[in-house]
Symmetry: C2
Subunit: 119 residues, 2 copies
DNA sequence: AGGTTAAATAACCTTTCGGTTAAATACAGA
DNA sequence: TCTGTATTTAACCGAAAGGTTATTTAACCT
């Protein structure tokens, strides 16, 4: 157990073409040809991208006649999110510090009012 | 503007060694040698991993005498989180459907009680 | 100045990635 | 059964990834 399922997911997401494909699939199922349409790229290239996404668990594919409709697999993104969650406090903490800083600036502001502003 | 800052971040996260380094840095600053210690890997290899993380904006490095302490840059992870947010409804939606399904199962359950259970 | 420690760089190697074109496969429909 | 349409597979290519060892740089400490 505990194989590294995250690496292939991150690797799949590291390509803008594949992220664009995911964005498209977030709107609904689509065939390979439809998915390929926006890109200036050969069909085999798209086919390879889809295979990468599939192996990462980010998409799944059905079969309808000669079409192989693709759909997004949200669970895979949820897995990524769960990894990220471990770090959430880090950026929220930093945000808190920024808020503290801004609050301090604001409480100082009245004193500063007397000074002229640089043109 | 609008350069692709996400690809290098995802690419950096696609390696388990680098994710382990990040996990370590989430606990606090660390020198390169300290970071290298848990891995069965040469120092230059670690050095390269750190460079990848740095270029992705995931870590930053200081200078203290002959040490180059590394620290995590939470903002980069926040950026990844923001990308992921666009898809959140997808997995939450699916979870809702599962909950609906389980609720239906439960309301059906009393009827099922009368049947014997398979051994 | 000389020696030690911390880290980066250079040069190299093998594997993987992202693309190509050409050929093969799978199915639908006349 | 032949033809067109959708998609994959095969073979190839150059570039990038991830590792190595050997060398270099940088800063500290006598």
């Amino acid at each position: 157990m505990a194989a590294d399922h995250l690496s292939p997911k991150f690797a799949a997401l590291a390509d803008p073409t594949r992220r664009a494909i995911l964005a498209r699939l977030a709107l609904g199922e689509s065939s390979v040809t439809e998915l390929a349409e926006p890109f200036d790229m050969s069909m085999p290239a798209i086919s390879k991208h889809l295979k990468v996404l599939e192996h990462a668990g980010l998409i799944a594919r059905g079969r309808e006649a000669q079409w192989r409709p693709c759909r997004i697999e949200p669970q895979a993104l949820k897995d990524v999110n769960e990894w990220l969650e471990e770090y959430r406090r880090l950026w929220e903490q930093r945000l808190d510090r920024l808020e503290d800083y801004l609050r301090k600036l604001q409480s100082k502001a009245p004193k500063e009012k007397k000074r002229g502003r640089k043109k």
